[in-house]
């Protein structure tokens, strides 16, 4: 099977998958108690006012009908409007989704930079100090709540030491943001040569990235360590040792064989963190997509929630496709 045919076949399935995700999330969202009309008009709304608004929003129709209308609109590129921001959901997400992506991507890069080397070191010497450090790290990272850890970091580095900017968003208010090209402040300011904005955005990223990176290095470390251990005990490693290959080569072979598992855990974490980073986003007033969706849920503002789910689903499907292509590249048995 050629690569192109494989990708094409995968893409054919994307549409029904998305439709299914939309249906389930629509139904779940409808289960959330709270009447949007009441929320929008406030406590002093008249009964006929509420009825008129419900009819306008289509809330008087059956759920299935509502879903049909929603899907038709989505197909035209209209995700509805958020009554909280009074902006189209697509406009809101265009700003917030990249904010979350930037945060999550950098955090995962940090998590990988910590988790993989420490995991390998832990697997290599099974009774040494590094192994014990790796074990404690995994335990600690798994048990610390990320928002609490974020608060500790803010207390130490902002309140006590004052070496990072205030946890109030992605840029200081005094800095003029770069024009939106990709939505990532780092990339946009670098492309436009706006280095003061770049430095400021980078400063704001330090603590949230540290928080999510240090916490999520835990599962990556654990996965790397256990898979590496298994690979180092695998028959091919024993045979490589029997052939007198240097330890370095044996470890490299084992790592290559452990790579698919590591790629898998990273892809799962990536999809999870798009929404899972929300508590950290709130702590740092990040204005990210997760935060946006949670506010939507709390205020019966349903369009942002559905829009967020749809965007996350598309992103996850893209990630899984990329992961499969990576498998293709690294494991000849899948070809």
């Amino acid at each position: 099977m050629t690569l192109l045919a494989y990708v094409a076949r995968r893409l054919v399935f994307v549409l029904p998958q998305l439709l299914g995700i939309m249906f389930v999330s629509f139904m779940l969202v409808k289960l959330i108690p709270g009447d949007p009309a009441v929320m929008m008009l406030g406590p002093f709304a008249t009964d006929e006012g509420l009825a008129r608004l419900r009819a306008e929003l289509g809330l008087d129709r059956s759920v299935i009908e509502q879903f049909g209308i929603y899907v038709m609109r989505v197909l035209q590129g209209d995700l509805g409007t958020s009554w909280q921001t009074t902006l189209p959901v697509t406009t809101d997400l265009a700003q917030r989704f990249p904010a979350t992506l930037e945060l999550v991507t950098l955090s995962l890069a940090l998590a990988l930079a910590i988790g993989i080397p420490v995991g390998i070191a832990g697997a290599r010497d099974k009774s040494g100090v590094l192994r014990r450090i790796a074990d404690y790290y995994g335990l600690l990272a798994g048990s610390l709540p990320d928002f609490w850890f974020a608060l500790v970091l803010i207390f130490v580095f902002y309140t006590m030491l004052g070496i990072v900017p205030a946890p109030l968003g992605r840029l200081d208010f005094t800095i003029i943001p770069p024009p939106t090209i990709t939505g990532s402040l780092l990339i946009d300011s670098a492309v436009t040569g706006n280095w003061s904005a770049f430095a400021n955005a980078a400063g704001h990223l330090v603590l949230p990235v540290l928080t999510l990176g240090l916490i999520n290095a835990g599962p990556i470390l654990k996965m790397t360590q256990s898979t590496m251990e298994r690979m180092l005990q695998a028959e091919f490693s024993g045979y490589a040792e029997m052939c007198g290959l240097p330890r370095k080569v044996v470890v490299r072979k084992a790592l290559r064989n452990a790579l698919p598992s590591i790629v898998t855990i990273v892809s799962v974490l990536y999809g999870f963190l798009i929404g899972g980073a929300v508590l950290v986003e709130i702590v740092f007033s990040w204005g990210g997509a997760g935060q946006y969706a949670v506010q939507g849920v709390l205020n019966a503002d349903l369009n942002p929630v559905l829009g967020f789910v749809l965007y996350s689903a598309i992103l996850s499907l893209i990630i899984y496709l990329i992961v499969d292509l990576i498998y293709f590249a690294i494991d000849p048995r899948t070809r």
Partner: protein
């Protein structure tokens, strides 16, 4: 290749007197928590001379593989050598540093394994896996490696080597994978090769091809071979000398002719008759081997006593030593079988 087709066709000086591998009193034990440690090998004496092919026969769990791993100095945890000496080419292997041992493995002593498709790295091509060894031990560059790999693939009779060099392990048949492993073993022209049950996973016709190939290559190069197998019949047309291992002990070792014509140890007789297809042959070996079964055997004494039809009181009380019963023929038995 113009290799001699039979062992006996080798020039008279093919097997030299000087020992290449000399094992004396090797005992390997596995300590157990809060219990007596288990001996996997007990008091092994084995000498392999230059150019000699030795068959090592034994049932599952008798210590065949443990002996191979002891020679490679790769005893699985928590096993360790309690006593004994392993000398290879005049060097005491137990005294070598880990890095020296690593360099020795694959270069001076190579191993042919039994489950090549499970033991080859699934993510490296045939060429890369052979190349690894050449790079690690011979310091060859990419061009040299490629030439040498092609040469090796041809030597182990792999058809279309220019295609196979880029094949992945999962694309190989069992016989092909076995040839690749053989090419890896031969890559650095080692002095000594251990074949650990190498052909057991193959079907009979492929097994015969691989055995013929192994014999040709070994004889042509004058490499010493320790041929570990469960199939005593294979050793008959393969080995200069045969050793039988039982419960971690060598119970009999003899030159091939003497071994098959005049087996001394009761266990050897049982092994031989188990493999004999011909009823007359079985009668020949079991001829005067029909004594009473002894019951109620204790753990002390001869390890085989519990299963031996000839066991007597002495066998239960006193551990026999490996002694020369005929010139060059050793058996670990108080009452070697007489013909």
């Amino acid at each position: 290749m113009t290799a001699p087709q039979r062992l006996d066709d080798r020039p008279g000086d093919a097997v030299q007197a000087a020992p290449l591998l000399d094992i004396r009193g090797l005992t390997v034990a596995f300590p157990r928590f809060g219990a007596k440690s288990v001996a996997a090998l007990r008091d092994i004496d084995l000498t392999v001379r230059k150019g000699e092919v030795i068959g090592l026969v034994g049932e599952s769990g008798s210590g065949k593989t443990m002996l191979a791993r002891s020679i490679m100095q790769l005893i699985p945890e928590p096993g360790r050598i309690d006593r004994g000496r392993i000398e290879f080419a005049g060097q005491d292997l137990r005294a070598l540093a880990p890095e020296e041992l690593r360099q020795m493995r694959g270069r001076d002593i190579a191993m042919i394994i039994s489950n090549p498709r499970g033991e080859l790295d699934p993510l490296q091509t045939v060429g890369q896996q052979i190349g690894n060894v050449l790079k690690a031990h011979m310091g060859m560059g990419p061009r040299q490696i490629r030439d040498r790999v092609m040469e090796l693939l041809r030597q182990v009779s792999i058809p279309a080597p220019e295609r196979r060099i880029n094949a992945w392990p999962h694309e190989l048949s069992g016989g092909m994978a076995q040839r690749v492993v053989m090419a890896i073993a031969l890559a650095c022209s080692p002095k000594f090769i251990i074949s650990d049950d190498a052909t057991s996973g193959l079907d009979v016709t492929v097994q015969a091809q691989v055995l013929d190939l192994m014999r040709d290559l070994v004889i042509a190069r004058g490499t010493s071979l320790l041929f570990i197998t469960r199939d005593i019949g294979v050793t008959a047309h393969f080995c200069d000398r045969v050793a039988v291992i039982y419960a971690g002990q060598i119970v009999e070792t003899a030159p091939r002719a003497s071994f098959f014509e005049d087996p001394q140890h009761p266990y050897t007789l049982l092994l031989l008759s188990a493999f004999a297809q011909d009823a007359r042959l079985r009668r020949y070996w079991l001829g005067n081997f029909t004594a009473q079964r002894t019951e109620g055997v204790a753990a002390a004494g001869c390890a085989f006593a519990a299963r031996c039809v000839r066991a007597e009181a002495r066998c239960l009380a006193e551990t026999p030593v490996l002694r020369e019963t005929k010139p060059g023929h050793f058996a670990r038995c108080h009452f070697p079988v007489e013909r």
